[in-house]
Amino acid sequence: MNPTATSIKLTNCAKTFADGTQALKPLNLTVKAGETIVLLGPSGCGKTTLLRIIAGLEATDQGGEIYFNQQNMTSIAIEKRNIGMVFQSYALFPNMSVAQNIVYGLKIRKLKPQAIKRRLDEMLEMMQIEALAHRRIDQLSGGQRQRVALARAIAVRPNLLLLDEPLTALDASLRDRLRSEISELLQKLGITSIYVTHDQSEAMALADRIVVMDKGRIVQIGSPYDIYHRPKNEFVANFVGNVNHHPNVFDANYLTLFRPEDVEIVEPTKGDFEAKIISVLFLGDKSRLTLDCGFKKSIYVDTTLRQNFKTGMKISMHVEAERLIKLKTTDNGPATVKES
């Protein structure tokens, strides 16, 4: 871990906009030094608003407080917070070259010319954009712009790196590649980072902990593993992957769910339940089956069996007890989570 990494604490932060929209309900959040946190949730749930409050671009409502390393930053302006920020639209300065963009924060900090030059070379090399140093911004591709934006944000050695959907504007294959590059970069730098996305696979790949948000609230905080396998409620379970309702476990107090990949296809009549195949999606490494088991909701099954499944076939299925996701039905409203 980076020895200068900063911990973040938010207490009671809420946001009501001038027009009366309550974008965030009062919430608490602690980010450990050097940790990568991903804010995940559907569009409009308040991710950007929360990030902007942490950055200092929005003020929290009366009563909220923000700490960096136990130091109260609530009323400190953004330019004094020593953060690095990456915007969805990149926000590169069009009147400056790539190199000028990257060193802008260093010039503001009045570093010596040699130090600036050294840091510039280091950044160009780290992001593999040496050849672009003297280009104008409008001469760059989307992926190159994103690298420059990252380089500019980390060049100042920020206490905290904030990224708002940095990959959304890129096409799928580039997104995958940059995602793993960013993941490596964050590991290597050990800077405390907060990353906003509505893409669950991005969240899984990058996060030490995921903060799932819905309608201005934090619904669950946990490691990607916990969020996926021990979701707190049906909203979380659905948001981070697909889930099925168990067709023949009924309990007034519990909702029993399972994930498509946790289904075993067994010999006819030997399983817990049977269903008819409605459609088969062959994906090469696996097949995704959609099944009708007499309920309103279809069941989805992912299987790696080398078997030529056909529409209309009836199959018998089993789910190991420990793979079942059991949710207290009382938890299925929007929940506020107390931080442990």
Binding site: A77, E79, S89, Y104, R109
Partner: protein, 272 residues
């Protein structure tokens, strides 16, 4: 020959006709007339040899230059404020600010007399405050005031159009990198407004160089070049002198704008 040439020729033709009819022919005639006076082509040197001409040229240049600078500064601040802030009565304020666009120079001159003339508001207030009655409507200061008043709306409109296109995330990015509000203005906002500011300064400068109506209304003490041309033409019947001065006025204005444009090249300087 490329098959596109005939079509290209047809497209250029209207422009060529207009250019010839309204520029080349009258201009060459004017240049020619400038050389028909008793001193012949030396009339074109008169701007340097005749101290009244020279003085009038320098006064006009200084006036136009300062009008441009002051108008651009005021309009940039006001224009950005209007783009950034929503308040009650904003739309009415904007349309009032752009009101003088339609006024002829005479009306501007009249307004200057109303505020800084012998019976003017400024004189009245200054008398009450300091005991001195300030009257500057009939001097170059009055002309300055009139031109600034007249130029501001043009520049404000350009600044507002460019300001609305400013991307807020650019300013936020600069702030996140530690830039103070002043550094944001200097490094982000001004460069983004630059093309618009250059274009509107050019118009503002050229208009002030050639404006006549206001100077004519305020009259007496003012000796700007368009007034000198008018005097030569009507009172002294020195048609050649008037023509040569007109050509020189046009050339100097063009040269000033050319220098301004090349000094403010829009390309990115390489880092290093």
């Amino acid at each position: 020959m490329s098959p596109h040439y005939p079509r290209l020729f047809l497209l250029i033709l209207p422009a060529a006709i207009v250019f010839t009819a309204f520029f080349i022919i009258p201009m060459s005639r004017l240049i020619f007339i400038g050389g028909t006076g008793e001193n012949g082509w030396a009339a074109y040197y008169a701007i340097f040899t005749n101290s009244r001409y020279l003085y009038s040229m320098i006064a006009t240049l200084i006036l136009s230059f300062s009008v441009t600078i002051i108008s651009v500064i005021i309009s940039t601040i006001v224009g950005l404020f209007l783009v950034r802030n929503q308040f009650y009565g904003r739309d009415i304020l904007i349309s009032m600010l752009t009101f003088p666009l339609a006024f002829p120079g005479v009306v501007i001159g009249f307004l200057v007399i109303l505020s800084a003339g012998r019976q003017g508001l400024i004189g009245y207030i200054s008398k009450a405050l300091t005991g001195d009655k300030w009257v500057f409507a009939y001097s170059i200061a009055g002309l300055f005031m009139g031109y600034v008043y007249f130029s501001i709306p043009r520049v404000i409109l350009t600044v507002m159009a460019a300001g609305e296109k400013l991307e807020p995330s650019l300013e936020e990015a600069a702030k996140s990198l530690g830039a103070s509000p002043w550094q944001v203005v200097k490094d982000i906002i001004i460069p983004a407004l630059k093309p618009g500011l250059i274009a509107s300064s050019a118009i503002c400068f050229a208009t002030s160089m050639g404006a006549f109506g206001t100077a004519f209304t305020l009259a007496t003490n003012i000796d700007v070049l368009p007034m000198t041309i008018y005097t030569e033409f009507t009172l002294n019947a020195n048609i050649a002198g008037a023509a040569s001065l007109s050509i020189v006025l046009g050339l100097v204005t063009w040269l000033a704008l050319y220098i301004a444009r090349s000094l403010s090249g829009t390309s990115v300087a390489p880092a290093g």
